[in-house]
């Protein structure tokens, strides 16, 4: 799947940019051609700047990753995470039946979801990556995602925020009389997408085409 997406985005990008170089335009006088290499140049610039942004993003993550995983370790060693995991246990064992209730993965996933709910985006990613590392320890086929990983991922990509801090900030800057009045709709919409995410992963994981195969095969 990842291979198809990677190839598809790049190939479509090059083809569309190439086609745009012909510069077809509809005018009153009919179709005219206005050839130029500009679209291909823009494509190249876009590709190079994306590669640079990717590394900048990762570099920007280093400090914040170190901070949150450092705090996470203290919370683990002191038993705070385990306490939290115990409180959330009834919900978590239903969402992730394949993960042992006392496994560190549970604690990391709870922390990640809590950070998302509070709108702490820069804490959520490090904690989410920590959860993936823990889930990988339970994985028998190391190059293939487990059911728990996919469910956790889908919850994350569907966004579980209660406080959309960024967008409230933008609206405040634009002079909204009540920048936070979108919170209700946001919580509703996010609730719908998270519910769909959980149901979809639970149903799809049973489909024959998504069964886990041995390492090396496709």
């Amino acid at each position: 799947m990842i291979n198809v997406i990677f190839m598809g985005l790049l190939v479509i990008g090059v083809v569309v940019a190439g086609f745009n170089c012909i510069g077809l335009e509809m005018t009153d006088a009919g179709m005219i051609m206005n050839p130029s290499f500009e679209p291909l140049n823009q494509l190249t610039t876009g590709i190079f700047s994306s590669a640079k942004v990717a590394v900048e993003l990762a570099m920007g993550l280093i400090g914040i990753m170190a901070l949150w995983l450092g705090l996470m370790r203290i919370a683990e060693d002191s038993g705070l995470i385990q306490l939290l995991a115990k409180a959330m246990r009834p919900l978590m064992v239903r969402l992730f039946p394949d993960v042992p209730p006392d496994h560190p993965a549970m604690g990391a996933m709870i922390m990640n979801i809590a950070a998302n709910i509070l709108g702490l985006g820069n804490a959520a990613t490090p904690l989410g990556l920590k959860a993936m590392t823990e889930l990988q320890k339970l994985n028998k086929v190391k190059d293939t995602a487990t059911n728990a990983m996919v469910t956790f991922m889908a919850i994350n990509t569907s966004s579980v925020t209660l406080i959309p801090a960024t967008v409230i900030g933008i609206r405040a800057a634009a002079g909204a009389t009540n920048p936070a009045d979108i919170i209700g709709p946001v919580i509703l919409a996010t609730g719908v997408s998270t519910t769909v995410a959980i149901i979809a992963t639970k149903l799809m994981q049973k489909l024959p085409r998504y069964q886990i195969t041995e390492e090396g095969s496709n």
Partner: protein
Amino acid sequence: MFQNVVNGISSIAIPLIIFSIVLYGYVKKVKVYESFTTGAKEGFEVAIRIIPYLVAILVAIGAFRASGALDLLTSLLSPVTSFIGMPAEVLPMAMMRPLSGSGALGIVSELINNFGVESLIGRMAAVMEGSTETTFYVLAVYFGSISITKSRHAVPAALLADLAGILSAVIITRVVFG
């Protein structure tokens, strides 16, 4: 009032979390400094490990955007979106949101500036921004960090959830502010 509470929660959350974790650890006789640095080392390694995956996915998305393919897809889809009551102006936002966080943020700001922060379009884009995530970034980083290449049903399930989020953003915004 409500907004003050929300802002308050945002301001207090992180300092309070740090305070509680460090103090609780110290009280429980954890060597907090050593624990912190052990964990931090792991964080450093993860951040470096995700770079190749991040480059791959962001370059692919960047090519798709810069070539004009995203605009093309948007114009192809516009009959469908007008049918479900999504203003044509919001469609680029819906298309961009799963692909690029900064791109989507740019579109929201632009829509808010052009149509007004209290307009239906401005609000719909804001709700979309708040209620969805940059799916492909999360997929690439999360799976990349542990070298998973077979994602099974992750992509279709995540995209289905995005679709549900975007549709509900359209409908709910219309009902509440329309």
